[in-house]
């Protein structure tokens, strides 16, 4: 049995799926990179005992506003982490990038206004070089979340001394 949280396991699985999907389902690669980021954030929230309050905020939203606003709650939370560790917006900017692109790829939000073709065709034009830029964004998010967790753990230790 693994010690990894369910969120960390899912984040890693999504990241792996993203890499596999790059070739045949490139729009799903974009979506999975975002959902990997989302679950890395959930895993961080679990480790710092903030997951329940985060989920309460999302569950208290009205039915009609759930999809957009649930992501707004997460976005605000990621912004808070960025403030806390003074990440100079590296965390939130990369998270926002993946979120915005996933909305385009998954929900086709304004896609006719944004793209010349379907998301599958558009992201299908990505070479390894372009996908590397996308996966680098996820890597930066992971690094910043690890930094935030280290900061939380060291402040917890200093309080218990």
């Amino acid at each position: 049995m693994t010690d990894l949280s369910i969120y960390l396991q899912q984040a890693k699985a999504n990241e792996e799926s993203a890499k596999i999907a790059q070739k045949d389902s490139p729009e799903w690669a974009i979506i999975m990179y975002f959902y990997a980021a989302l679950h890395y954030v959930n895993d961080y929230a679990l480790n710092v005992d903030q997951l329940d309050s985060l989920q309460e905020k999302i569950e208290s939203l009205g039915e009609g506003e759930k999809i957009e606003s649930a992501h707004s709650v997460m976005r605000k939370y990621v912004k808070e982490i960025d403030y806390t560790i003074n990440a100079k917006k590296e965390l939130i900017n990369n998270y926002n990038y993946l979120f915005d692109e996933s909305m385009l790829a998954r929900y086709l939000v304004n896609y006719e206004k944004c793209l010349d073709c379907s998301p599958r065709e558009h992201y299908g034009k990505y070479t390894d070089r372009e996908f590397k830029k996308i996966s680098d964004k996820l890597e930066k998010i992971k690094i910043k979340l690890q930094e935030a967790l280290r900061k939380y753990e060291s402040s917890k230790k200093s309080k218990t001394k």
Binding site: S72, K76, K89, N93, N96, D100, K113, C114, E130, K133
Partner: protein, 140 residues
């Protein structure tokens, strides 16, 4: 506070006063730091490579601090990644400045790279565009 006594005006005058106040608030809105910051951001975004023009949009209802910046640009998929990355970096600088200015963390800026400005929804209002200047509503 000076009472306006709008009820004493007849209906035509009422509309004149209403229009006058609306114009006045529109002018005041242009001087608000939030508007100036958004205007400056639009100008900065327009300096990015391949960008033709930029406009700022928000929903008529709901969070008035959620602003979408539509960037009109003709870019290939690879260029689009770099443009979106740079535009998000610039927009978050302004978003955070406004958070500090308004002592909140409620500002939410979103970037969209678009091929055209068509398909505007009735629920949205263009708050700034070099083609069609409009003002933030007093309620924002």
């Amino acid at each position: 506070m000076f009472p306006l006594h709008l009820e004493k005006f007849n209906s035509n005058n009422h509309f004149n006063v209403f229009n006058m106040l609306r114009k006045l608030f529109g002018f005041i809105d242009k001087l608000r730091p939030e508007f100036i910051a958004i205007k400056r951001l639009v100008a900065e975004l327009e300096t990015l490579p391949k960008v033709q023009t930029v406009r700022a949009i928000r929903n008529r209802k709901g969070n008035s601090r959620k602003v979408v910046f539509e960037i009109l640009a003709n870019v290939n998929p690879s260029e689009r990644i770099d443009l979106l990355t740079n535009a998000i970096d610039l927009s978050s600088e302004t978003e955070w400045k406004l958070d500090v200015l308004t002592r909140s963390r409620d500002w939410e800026f979103q970037i969209k790279i678009v091929k055209n400005f068509s398909g505007d929804k009735k629920s949205q209002v263009v708050i700034l565009s070099n083609d069609r200047p409009k003002y933030l509503s007093p309620a924002s």
